[in-house]
């Protein structure tokens, strides 16, 4: 059944509901001048299920309703009323009338309407309260005195495997061959090389194993060994305990606040906005967090999950990508990005619901292999790897990141962590075709390493599109062409991001939410398994991202998904020509990469993005790669 109450989308899972044990007598009362639409919807559902329903005309005085209730003696009484200060008093008075008339104990009474929340219903004296996100199923379940079907369904939610059912078989053999050639060369090349990042990852893994087994002396020895491989600032932390600039340890009040949050976070049974969550269904909408404070991050995670997010992405500080080495302990960072330590990740993990996918990114910087190790140890579900993006648009030396990246692919495969291969170099100006070529090479290397990569095309108004007027007509065709060309090339999962809608959003929260929602709906309707969204203030936040903005975006996405339903979004014929052009450019990029001799050389040579495009091979970690002994 697909119904709506109060103008909101509702449960539509088509689930077979249990038989009603016995028909109920239900009295419906719109204590309101006109608003009985919701009650009529519920009446239809109840009648279909064999219940006897009496709907009174709107706006009767409470005394008359009580008299009717005395005559009819219903099992349930459903009241609808929009709440304001005075009307809440009126409803409370109505319940007093029922109570003193001796009717209250013989019937269950619920109220529905805008502004109704369970707490307010409780305060007014009702047995239940149904707000604007209530479904018809909620009301039917209340009448039948059974647990809400949707809640049970949500309890059965499990973590989706975004890579399930994909063969990674290249449908475009020409492109597939070229990808294999570049990828195999990369893996062979990297096999003989190592870096401080690779070594630290190996030490960290061993150190955590020793810590778990209580071998403290071994932990100390490994810690010293680890410290010798770190940069100046991190070394001072390990040697002297000096905090890295703009970080501080979490304080006791913050630890207590974590404890309080643990009490309120719940286990997902009491989602604030179940209807949003229902509409999202198994479509995984990721949100990003990384305020710098693990506590605030946890609040954002709890909030986002309550409003339908099924995935969360951990953002770390940009300095973490330039420093050799990671910290230990629980740390707060005074700027964007939350410090990656095992302790911080384990704190945050407590607030992630069993069905929420958790991604910890390892796609740039000098600590990517260790990040994968920590992600796996903390229980993350996904990571993020792309040496091409990290080299060309995130400041890491290509040679170094290719060595570290291949280690990430191995580790991700060993830990069973799928990962997306992000293409945000498009935001720097790299054409989509070049970014896609790099993504396909990394994907191929990942598959050859035994991993499960996920393609992450950028759904945005990229500089390439702006400069060349590709999206002047609309924001659909180019994004659709990206999805189409990837589907033409390879049977692999796609998860657009990150986040969708970049450079289409403005400071206006309504506009920003709308753009996010339309991009997310487009991506999900074009066959992607997941999508990453920003909060409505994220693109232009001059300060902390607010919870309200997160809700804006999640609600907007739910509304857009409800709006389109099962309708297919059909791009214009222009998308097909854009797809052809993309395919041709991807092919040419890969040919150039093969001609360059290796991925590393191709990266330095600008094959996957030149300085003219806006790509600059990074310098962090240059000269640190060594041959394995």
């Amino acid at each position: 059944m697909t119904e709506k109450v109060g103008g909101r989308p509702v449960h539509g899972d088509g689930a077979v509901r249990p038989r009603t044990p016995e028909p109920k007598k239900v009295l419906m009362v719109p204590l309101d001048p006109v608003h009985d639409v919701g009650l009529k919807l519920i009446r239809r559902a109840l009648s279909q299920r064999g219940h006897e329903v009496v709907l009174l005309p709107p706006d009767l005085p409470p005394e008359e309703v009580v008299q009717k209730a005395g005559e009819i003696r219903p099992d349930c009484l459903l009241v609808s009323r929009t709440i304001s200060y005075g009307t809440a008093e009126l409803l409370a008075r109505f319940l007093d009338l029922l109570d003193t008339a001796g009717l209250r104990d013989k019937m269950r009474v619920a109220v529905g309407g805008m502004s109704i929340r369970p707490e307010l219903a409780q305060e007014m004296g009702f047995d239940a309260g149904f707000g604007p996100d209530t479904t018809v199923d909620d009301a039917v379940a209340f009448v039948e005195d059974r647990e809400f079907q949707g809640t049970r369904a949500r309890r059965k939610l499990s973590k989706p495997d975004l890579t399930e059912g994909f063969s990674y078989r290249f449908k475009d053999e020409e492109i597939g061959c070229l990808c294999h050639e570049v990828a195999q060369e990369l893996l062979s090349w990297a096999k003989e090389r190592t870096s401080p990042g690779v070594l630290r990852a190996e030490i960290r893994e061993e150190m955590e194993r020793a810590r778990k087994e209580g071998r403290q002396e071994e932990v100390s020895r490994l810690r010293d060994e680890y410290a010798r491989l770190t940069g100046d600032e991190i070394l001072r932390f390990y040697r002297e305990g000096t905090p890295v600039s703009h970080t501080r340890p979490l304080t006791p009040p913050e630890a207590r606040a974590f404890s309080d949050l643990e009490k309120t976070a719940g286990d997902g049974d009491d989602l604030t906005c179940p209807a949003s969550a229902d509409v999202m269904g198994n479509r995984v909408v990721f949100v990003q967090y990384g305020t710098g404070c693990p506590l605030v991050d946890s609040y954002h995670i709890v909030l986002s999950q309550s409003w339908g997010a099924r995935g969360v992405v951990h953002f770390d500080p940009s300095w973490g990508a330039r420093q050799e080495g990671l910290l230990e302990g629980t740390w707060s960072h005074q700027h964007d990005g939350t410090v990656i330590t095992l302790d911080n990740l384990q704190l945050i993990k407590k607030y992630i619901l069993p069905w929420t996918l958790w991604q910890v990114r390892a796609h740039r910087g000098l600590n990517t292999p260790e990040t994968v190790v920590l992600a796996a140890l903390a229980g993350a579900d996904l990571t993020k790897v792309n040496m091409v993006y990290g080299s060309l648009a995130a400041g890491t030396d290509p040679e170094r990141l290719c060595v570290d990246g291949v280690k990430c692919l191995e580790l991700a495969a060993r830990f069973g962590l799928p990962y997306d291969v992000v293409t945000n170099e498009e935001l720097a100006g790299v054409p989509a075709a070049k970014a896609f070529a790099g993504m396909l090479v990394v994907m191929t290397a990942g598959v050859l390493s035994g991993g499960r990569p996920i393609l992450q095309p950028l759904f945005a108004r990229s500089p390439e599109a702006i400069i060349n007027g590709i999206m002047d007509e609309d924001f659909v065709d180019f994004n659709a062409a990206k999805m189409m060309v990837l589907a033409d090339i390879v049977d692999a999962p796609v998860w657009p991001g990150a986040p969708v809608g970049f450079l289409t959003q403005s400071q206006d929260r309504v506009q920003s939410s709308t753009m996010t929602a339309l991009h997310a709906a487009l991506a999900l309707h074009l066959g992607s398994r997941a999508v990453t969204i920003a909060s409505s203030d994220e693109a232009y936040a001059g300060g902390p991202i607010t919870g309200a903005s997160r809700v804006d975006s999640l609600k907007s996405v739910a509304a857009a998904l409800r709006f389109f339903g099962q309708t297919k979004i059909t791009p214009s014929p222009r998308a097909a020509s854009l797809r052809e052009k993309l395919r041709e450019d991807i092919l040419n990029t890969l040919k150039s990469a093969v001609a360059a001799g290796s991925l590393v050389d191709a990266l330095y040579a600008g094959v996957f993005g030149s300085r003219e495009d806006g790509a600059y091979p990074g310098r962090a970690g240059r000269g640190t790669v060594t041959k394995r002994s």
Binding site: L95, E123, G125, F126
Partner: protein
């Protein structure tokens, strides 16, 4: 069937003033804190009562018929006072709210009662702290929770926090404090009239059931006349002498049927009419007027279950005039049970809605002037505990503690 077959009522013999501590012999006091509206100061009064009981080392249980102790008002969004409970006290609240409490509990058990937020559990406070209260919404539910607290936790004093202007479950309270103030209305004459109306209703005399039951000719229900409001009831009545007006007297439209029923039974003398449900002042006035018109020789003794049944429909301020007029015309008014009204607390705060922002803003009447004016117009015990301090409130609580002592003795 006529009035001569009924046991006549003799004023004075069977009526007595509201009594303290007589709750079916149970050695437990229930102190209700009701309000005439939301934001009239119930939580502030509750906190003062809790603090005073803590100072007196008097252990108690606390629950709510609504939702209280939250950070922000569920309607206005304005900040609200929090509720703190001392070690040793017992709290009955909804299961999810135990999770939110700053206080820590031991021996948490299910009372068997549900509310909109889940099962109502009760636990003893082992570490003092903040609680959010949400308890039974109905009279029956509150009764079950009180019984649970008495039988399972051995509690002698239960505090019941009210919600909005809801009073019905407070009929189980032995003592009542009523919070009122500018949030109800900042028009002093209107507010004072309502306070007077509540005071008048709460002082209605209680029918002595023992004397009534022992009246000759009333021992056999089968031999007794009875009627119902709109139709004959098949179920057994509690009191064989009564004319039972069904589920109350709340609509003028139903008056003719009720009058016809009464006239079938009696046309002269004094007829006792039991009205077990809610009573609307206008409906009762109309009932008496029509009856006097149709049966001028008949006098009525209206018996209501509880004075609070007269405060759930219509304006409380109407009652003094209506009751006085009925008495003047020879009718009598009584209740089956009552609750001792200890007094009123007055709060100058009111939430004011701002159209421009769509939000509420806190506004205050001049506290001293407000209290002086309301007090002078009512002559009832009334205090602003923020302005005057808690001494008067504490004297009320002392009366409750004394009542427990008398019951125990």
């Amino acid at each position: 069937m006529n009035g001569k077959n009924l046991t006549p009522a003799t004023v004075g013999e069977k009526l007595r003033p509201p009594n303290e501590g007589d709750r079916d012999g149970a050695p437990i006091a229930v102190l209700g804190i009701a309000g005439t509206a939301k934001n009239t100061g119930k939580t502030t009064a509750l906190n003062q009562v809790i603090r005073y009981l803590g100072d007196q080392k008097k252990f108690f249980a606390v629950t709510s018929i609504g939702f209280d102790g939250e950070d922000f008002d569920t309607v206005t969004g304005l900040g609200k006072p929090r509720v703190f409970v001392p070690e040793g006290s017992v709290v009955a609240t909804a299961q999810p709210l135990f999770r939110l409490a700053g206080a820590e509990f031991s021996g948490v058990r299910d009372t068997g009662v549900r509310c909109a937020l889940g099962r109502v559990l009760a636990g003893r406070v082992k570490k003092a702290g903040r609680v959010v209260l949400a308890g039974p919404a109905t009279t029956r539910g509150l009764g079950e929770v009180i019984r649970f607290l008495r039988e399972t936790a051995g509690v002698e004093l239960v505090l019941v926090d009210g919600a909005f202007s809801r009073v019905a479950p407070m009929c189980l309270a032995s003592h009542l404090i009523v919070a009122t103030g500018a949030a109800r209305t900042d028009d002093v004459p209107t507010l004072a009239a309502e306070v007077t109306g509540i005071g008048t209703v709460m002082s209605l005399p209680v029918l002595d059931l023992g004397a009534e039951r022992s009246c000759p000719g009333s021992s056999s229900p089968a031999a007794s006349p009875r009627g119902t409001w709109a139709q004959e009831l098949s179920g057994a009545h509690k009191y064989p002498w009564e004319v039972d007006l069904g589920t109350g007297l709340i609509a003028r439209s139903a008056v003719p049927t009720g009058v016809a029923l009464v006239r079938r039974i009696a046309r002269e003398g004094v007829l006792t009419v039991h009205v077990p449900g809610p009573v609307n002042p206008s409906a009762l006035e109309e009932f008496a007027r029509v009856l006097e018109d149709k049966a001028p020789a008949l006098r009525m003794r209206f018996v209501f279950d509880h004075p609070l049944n007269l405060l759930v429909s219509g304006k409380a301020s109407s009652w003094p005039g209506i009751l006085a007029a009925l008495t003047e015309r020879g009718h009598e008014i009584a209740v089956m049970k009552s609750t001792t009204l200890l007094g009123f607390t007055l709060n100058p705060f009111k939430p004011a809605f701002q159209e421009s922002s769509g939000r509420y803003r806190a506004e205050y009447a001049d506290a001293a002037w407000f209290l002086k004016e309301v007090r002078s117009r009512t002559g009832l015990p009334i205090t602003d505990i923020v302005l005057e301090g808690p001494s008067l409130l504490e004297s009320w609580v002392t009366r409750v503690i004394s009542a427990i002592g008398r019951c125990r003795a």
